[in-house]
């Protein structure tokens, strides 16, 4: 199950964060997403360590713990997309396609002329679209 999705700006500021857990515990997901930026920073700043992923937006599994996993995706404009999932067994291809759709939704949202770059995304359409992508992902992995 996807617990949370997030978009983080190029200065590591949160642009969009949506949790999909029932409990009122979004704050812990904020923390997880924020800490995952450490891993992205490390990979971006240490190209030696991540030669294979250098030319690719998809950063792969950032953060394996016993209880959840964080996957990352980095756009050319240094916008970071993160997914926190409690599914410990997810196919890489599923996550990749998820990120591609998520990225496309983001691009559409920030293309809105009324959106201020590097400001939080408040578009309801974007939120609905992301929820749709998350649901589709859940359906895809379960089915």
């Amino acid at each position: 199950m996807i617990a949370s999705v997030a978009v983080v700006g190029h200065q590591n500021n949160p642009l969009y964060l949506q949790s999909f857990t029932n409990a009122n515990d979004a704050l812990k997901l904020h923390h997880i997403v924020h800490c995952s930026l450490d891993v992205i920073d490390e990979r971006v700043n240490n190209p030696k360590r991540s030669v294979s992923t250098l030319n690719e937006s998809y950063l792969g599994l950032l953060y394996p713990t016993e209880s959840y996993k964080v996957y990352g995706y980095l756009s050319n404009t240094k916008a970071k997309f993160l997914v926190v999932t409690t599914d410990l067994d997810v196919k890489d291809a599923d996550i990749r396609s998820f990120f591609r759709r998520f990225h496309a939704a983001y691009v559409d949202a920030v293309s809105n002329p009324f959106h201020v770059p590097e400001k939080k995304i408040v578009s309801r359409t974007f939120a609905q679209r992301v929820s749709g992508i998350v649901k589709a992902f859940a359906a895809g992995t379960n089915g």
């Binding site: 590591n12 009122n24 979004a26 812990k28 904020h30 924020h34 450490d38 016993e66 209880s67 939080k120």
Partner: protein, 1248 residues
């Protein structure tokens, strides 16, 4: 073969180095032992690794063992084959012989026997005991050695070397080392090949029923062990890696149900660094090993090799991933394992890896690796910390664990342990249950500062109470409904114990009141949370064997100590790595514990770090969680500045993060502190809370020197109104940065409403330029605040944390100095001299209001204002006329918008206050002035009309206009006004009649732009002239009134004659000049120029009187000297041509009676020429010789050059010493000569 496991283990334990066998044929060992063993370990050995590539091994350990030694003798051939790795890798045959025959007969066959075993690698050391001085013995030894070489060396390989006991040759040892290494290498290669072959064969049987992992393991580990003995650790490690892979494949093969292990005492402590923790024979199971022990064994072997290879980083890397993966494996077998063994095992494994690697890490690795190393240590500490917290939560310390995002993220997604049955409450545990209950009840859920109420984050994946009871209930189905009821009563949701109300406790204690009922605690009654904790604690005590861990869980203090240690370990290591955020987040946990223990200073420091991180990257949700804690620390520490700053930061967080009530509490704190008696006024940056901007629209424009009022929009982020004692803003000139900033202040106190406020600030006069807003400063009580943040016309935006961009839009423009008003004379033509005239001034404001302006007038000499009259003011007629022409007639009515406005002004103290209606329009002011000129006008000769000098009629008037809002603007100008006589007069004698009557013509030239009307004119003649027929001097014919249009002329003719009588009356007072008296009237408009002054004086006659002096000259009646102008030799004069001007002077009479003349035969002359026309060369004045005798004559010549062409008056010769009446001139009057233009000169023309 598995039966050999025990033996194999024993062999591995005993043999740790390569064995070199020594075949001591001649009992030489005691004498050479010392020398040989000194060579060990072998300094440098070139061996081949598994891929047959040479590897240099340093300090290769080996051991010499005599073949007669029991260790080598007692082995069975089968064992030798199986454990080949422990067999000698080289055989040294020690021989000594001094007799060749003996060698041939005895020694050689024996040696042949020894070396016949092909599988052995051997070489012979011939020991010579011969003393160097004993030549015979030496010679014999050489002979025997030579024979030995012949017999045993082959072409491919030399197998002999010679050791002289009395004087060892250095080259021998090199030879010896080489041979021994060569033997070891060959043996190693052969054995490796053998093992590989065997392993390959066995691998082929992997999928067959005969496959036995133990056999495979013995072979594989034998090879690995052999490599390890040969210091080929890399190869050894690879063998273990392959072994591990193979094992995992084996255990994961479905089918066989295998025991997992982990049930023995002490299994809770990870054996990751202890390969010999359990003998392999104990963990063998059928054809394989128990996974729990065996995987740890393999990992321990790998770690040992990695340490030998000096790779602590790899140990940590492999260690962390091993722990994670093994923890998952443990989770799969959790229902068979002791309660929480998985957690306990992870804790001990992490701590073991940390302690082993941190002691071996030398810190000399590359920076990247170092950071990675610390990161992994941080991960290990963090993992250990999570598991430790989980254990602590289970036994009831959860109430004391900070419910922070960090802990919640770690714990709430981590599933509970899943034992097959949740542990039951032990017997006689009622005291413990009560103690736990007490702990839960006494736990004071810390109220957040400012009464912030937040739902606490969960630390449990699901309710522990429910989970525990569910796992118990699974034993006896039937109490499910009760369980649900219980849960409802207990109110245990996610955070059950938090809502454990006292009333519930009471009701519970009724049903569960004493230890005597404890035994009745059956499975069908759900446990209470305190019982769950007691049960878990009891079970853990059985699981944990590590006394340190037991101690750490024994009490809350011990728990917190360990918790602190682990948190600090994780944070410190993360700080050394790339993962700063992890480190800082954990700093927050350290701070929470410090706070709990009253160590507020440390807590504040750590919280500050956390807040700085979250604020810096804009994670406001997380910041809102930590910032109140920091504020509380600062409040306790009495750090007023910090506390205020925190309150302001809290206020400036996004709206949704706090309730309105909470935000009001923050503001109350700020206001309370601001008005409390602070020792020092505290400066505070409120950029995020109070923002400001100029008003939308164009900037305020001010003229240079004008003050103004600048409206500024201030956005207040305070939830309530806030009173500011003062408020000021700085303005920065964008064009000229040298000037620094100007501060403008708001004059009065303000109350800022939440949201938008418009505040007006007084702007004193500023230098020209464009100004932007700088910094807003103000005061709330003793609090001096500053705000740098420029809002963009909307509510302050909290996402704007990165850009403190300065506003670029100017709010104020002070224009460059320009003309704001213009005052000019309304009329350019001349006014009448000596008469009262209206002087018009046009006051023209240029896009600037003249409201309240004051005009000072200072007249120059010869001009005075007639203060008895009022001053007229009206709109500037000319503009009106223009408008009439340009637009339709409607405009006219518009222009008459001030018909009732006062049009008469008075002058007070030389100043005139302009009326308000005239502040924006051009007006004309009419002053009554009087120019005075005492001189009488003179008529000129018609031949040489001499006009009145313009300067004579010029008068000045100095004006000073004070205007602007504060009369701060001053306009000064001096205006020249031209006054003139109404006309000037030229005269000429029109005709000379035979009867002596002269017709004198007086021509009157109008000088004004007005119509003159002559009513009367008469001539008062001077002595020597009389009117013909003694008339009254009126003109010949009377045709008055005579009207003269502007700029035209009129003539009047008088007939006069020369009065011969008058000459005699020398003594009478004679009138030297004739006076022409003119009575005239003028009709003109003051807006055009000269006009009638009669309109000023009511009732006075409108006739004006004007006098002109006319000089009349009597004819020359008695000439003494005649002066004649000699005509030029050439007809034409040219400009620039020198000519001689000649006059002939002739004495007509004897000059006898002239006593004044000192030199009578001379005459004084003077040449008068217009310097603009003539240039005189030489003297213009001098004496010419002229005798006194009548008829004497002389000629005066002056050289001169004409400067202009045309008909010009030539120079005239005057004789100053003579009376004009005695000089007869020819020609008699002024005459003209013609001067031609200069001839064209081509000298400067440049040919093409």
């Amino acid at each position: 073969m598995a039966n050999y496991l025990a033996q194999f283990q024993a062999i591995k334990n005993t043999s740790d180095r390569l064995v070199v066998a020594v075949e001591d044929v001649s009992d030489l060992w005691p004498s050479v032992k010392e020398g040989l063993e000194k060579r060990l370990p072998l300094k440098k050995a070139s061996l081949n690794n598994k891929t047959r590539n040479p590897v240099y091994v340093e300090n290769l350990q080996a051991e010499f063992i005599l073949t007669t030694d029991s260790r080598l003798r007692s082995r069975f051939p089968q064992e030798q084959y199986l454990f080949w790795f422990r067999e000698p890798y080289a055989t040294i045959v020690l021989v000594s012989c001094e007799d060749l025959d003996e060698f041939k007969t005895i020694l050689k066959p024996r040696l042949k026997l020894i070396v016949q075993n092909e599988e052995r690698e051997w070489f012979i050391v011939f020991v010579s005991k011969a003393h160097p001085n004993n030549d015979q013995a030496t010679k014999n030894a050489k002979k025997v050695y030579a024979r030995l070489e012949v017999d045993f060396n082959t072409r491919k390989r030399e197998r002999c070397c010679k050791l002289d006991l009395n004087g060892v040759d250095a080259s021998f040892w090199e030879d010896f080392d080489f041979k021994i290494v060569e033997s070891i290498r060959n043996t190693l290669d052969r054995r490796a090949q053998f093992y590989e072959e065997e392993i390959r064969k066995m691998s082929e049987q992997r999928l067959m029923p005969v496959w036995n992992f133990c056999n495979f393991f013995i072979l594989k580990e034998s090879l690995a062990f052999m490599f390890e003995m040969a210091h080929l650790h890399e190869d050894s490690l690879r063998e273990y890696d392959e072994l591990e892979l193979c094992y995992i494949e084996t255990v994961s093969t479905p089918g066989k149900q295998r025991d997992f292990g982990g049930l023995e005492h002490g299994d809770d402590q990870a054996a990751l660094l202890k390969p010999g923790f359990k003998p392999l024979s104990q963990i063998v199971q059928d054809d394989s090993f128990r996974e729990f022990e065996f995987r740890q064994y393999l990992f321990a072997r790998q770690v040992k090799l990695l340490f030998r290879l000096g790779r602590p980083l790899e140990v940590v890397m492999r260690g962390y991933s091993f722990i994670i993966s093994f923890s998952k494996t443990l989770a799969l077998h959790e229902n068979t394992l002791p309660f929480c063994l998985r957690e306990v095992w992870v804790i001990s494994a992490c701590l073991a890896i940390i302690s082993s690697t941190s002691s071996t890490y030398d810190g000399l690795a590359a920076p990247d690796n170092e950071k990675e190393f610390y990161r992994l240590h941080g991960d290990l500490y963090s993992l250990c910390r999570i598991k430790f917290m989980r254990l602590a939560y289970l036994i009831g310390y959860g109430v004391e664990i900070e419910k922070s995002p960090v802990n919640s993220a770690s714990l709430s997604m981590l599933p509970w342990p899943k034992p097959s049955i949740w542990p039951a409450v032990p017997e006689d545990a009622s005291a413990k249950v009560l103690a736990k209950e007490k702990l839960i009840l006494q736990a004071n859920p810390r109220m957040k500062h400012f009464n912030i109420q937040r739902k606490q984050l969960p630390l449990e994946p699901s309710s522990l109470l429910r989970e525990a009871n569910r796992r118990r209930a699974s034993l006896s189905v039937g109490n499910l409904s009760e369980l649900i009821d219980y849960r409802q009563i207990d109110g245990s949701g996610i955070d059950g114990h938090q809502k454990f109300s006292p009333s519930t406790t009471n009701s519970m204690s009724r049903t569960y009141s004493g230890p005597n009922l404890e035994s009745s605690l059956s499975l069908d009654r759900p446990m209470r949370i305190s019982e769950v904790h007691v049960a878990a604690e009891h079970a853990l005590e059985n699981t944990v064997t590590d006394p340190d861990l037991l101690k750490s869980l024994s009490s809350l203090e011990e728990f917190e100590q360990k918790y602190m240690e682990l948190t600090k370990g994780a944070a410190d290591n993360y700080h050394h790595s790339w993962w700063k955020r992890h480190g800082v987040a954990l700093d927050g946990e350290i701070a929470a514990l410090c706070f709990k223990h009253g160590n507020y200073d440390l807590a504040a420091k750590s919280y500050e770090k956390v807040c700085a991180l979250y604020a810096g990257e804009g994670w406001q949700d997380l910041l809102a969680e930590v910032l109140p804690n920091l504020a509380e620390c600062q409040k306790i520490l009495n750090d007023q500045a910090g506390y205020l700053s925190s309150c302001v930061r809290l206020l400036s967080l996004e709206d949704g993060l706090f309730l309105a009530k909470e935000r009001q509490a923050f503001q109350l704190e700020v206001v309370r502190l601001a008005h409390s008696e602070m020792k020092h006024p505290v400066p505070l940056d409120v950029s995020s809370l109070i923002t400001f901007s100029g008003n939308p629209g164009p900037p305020l424009q001010l003229c240079d020197g004008d003050p103004g009022t600048l409206p500024v929009t201030v956005w207040s982020g305070f939830p309530d109104d806030i009173t500011l004692e003062s408020l000021s803003l700085t303005l920065t000139n964008t064009l000229n940065t040298d000037e620094g900033v100007k501060t403008i202040k708001s004059s009065d106190a303000h109350i800022l409403k939440p949201g938008r406020n418009v505040i007006k600030l007084d702007v004193p006069p500023q230098k020209p330029g464009s100004y932007v807003l700088g910094v807003l400063t103000g005061q709330i009580g003793n609090l001096r605040f500053r705000s740098h943040n420029f809002s963009k016309g909307g509510p302050q935006d909290n996402d704007d944390f990165m850009s403190y961009e300065k506003p670029t839009r100017p709010v104020l423009k002070v224009l460059k100095p320009r003309t704001l008003v213009d005052i000019s004379a309304a009329v350019s033509s001349a006014l009448l001299m000596n008469e009262l005239q209206w002087l018009g001034l046009i006051v023209k404001p240029i896009d600037y209001s003249l409201k309240g302006s004051l005009l000072s007038i200072d007249t120059g000499p010869g001009l005075m204002i007639d203060e008895s009259h009022t001053i007229d003011i009206n709109e500037y007629a000319k503009t009106m006329e223009d408008k009439v022409h340009a637009h339709d007639s409607n405009t006219i009515t518009e222009n008459n918008t001030h018909p009732l406005e006062p049009k008469q002004l008075y002058i007070e103290n030389g100043k005139i206050a302009l009326p308000d209606w005239a502040s924006d329009t051009s007006t004309t002011l009419w002053f009554p002035v009087h120019a005075i000129d005492d001189r009488m006008a003179r008529a000129a000769s018609a031949d040489s009309p001499h006009r009145q000098n313009m300067v004579d009629g010029m008068r000045t008037i100095a004006l000073k206009l004070e205007f602007g809002a504060f009369r701060n603007q001053i306009f000064e100008r001096t205006i020249a006004v031209h006054f003139t006589d109404p006309f000037y007069v030229t005269t000429r004698v029109a005709n000379k009649c035979n009867d002596g009557t002269l017709l004198l013509q007086a021509t009157i030239h109008s000088q004004v732009k007005a119509t003159l009307c002559l009513y009367d004119a008469w001539l008062d003649l001077q002595a020597g002239f009389v009117h013909v027929r003694k008339e009254n001097g009126r003109p010949v014919s009377s045709f008055f009134p005579l009207v003269i249009s502007p700029s035209s002329t009129a003539g009047i003719l008088f007939s006069i004659c020369i009065d011969n009588m008058a000459i005699a009356d020398q003594n009478e007072v004679v009138q030297a000049e004739s006076i022409l008296n003119v009575m005239y009237g003028i009709s003109g408009d003051r807006s055009n120029g000269a006009h009638s002054p009669t309109s000023l004086k009511l009732g006075s006659s409108d006739k004006l009187f004007f006098k002109v002096a006319i000089a009349l000259q009597r004819p020359i009646l008695d000439p003494c000297i005649a002066v004649g102008f000699v005509p030029f030799s050439s007809n034409c004069l040219r400009v620039g041509q020198l000519i001689n001007m000649k006059w002939r002077v002739e004495r007509l009479k004897d000059l006898e009676a002239s006593p004044s003349s000192s030199c009578k035969d001379e005459v004084l002359y003077e040449v008068d020429a217009n310097p603009e026309i003539w240039m005189i060369a030489g003297r213009t004045m001098g004496h010419a010789l002229l005798s006194n005798a009548r008829g004497s004559r002389t000629e005066i010549t002056v050289t001169c050059m004409p400067l202009v062409s045309g008909h010009v008056r030539p120079p005239q010769l005057g004789l100053p010493a003579m009376d004009d009446a005695n000089i007869s001139c020819n020609p008699p009057g002024p005459h003209l000569v013609c001067v031609l233009p200069p001839t064209l000169s081509s000298s400067y023309c440049i040919p093409a």
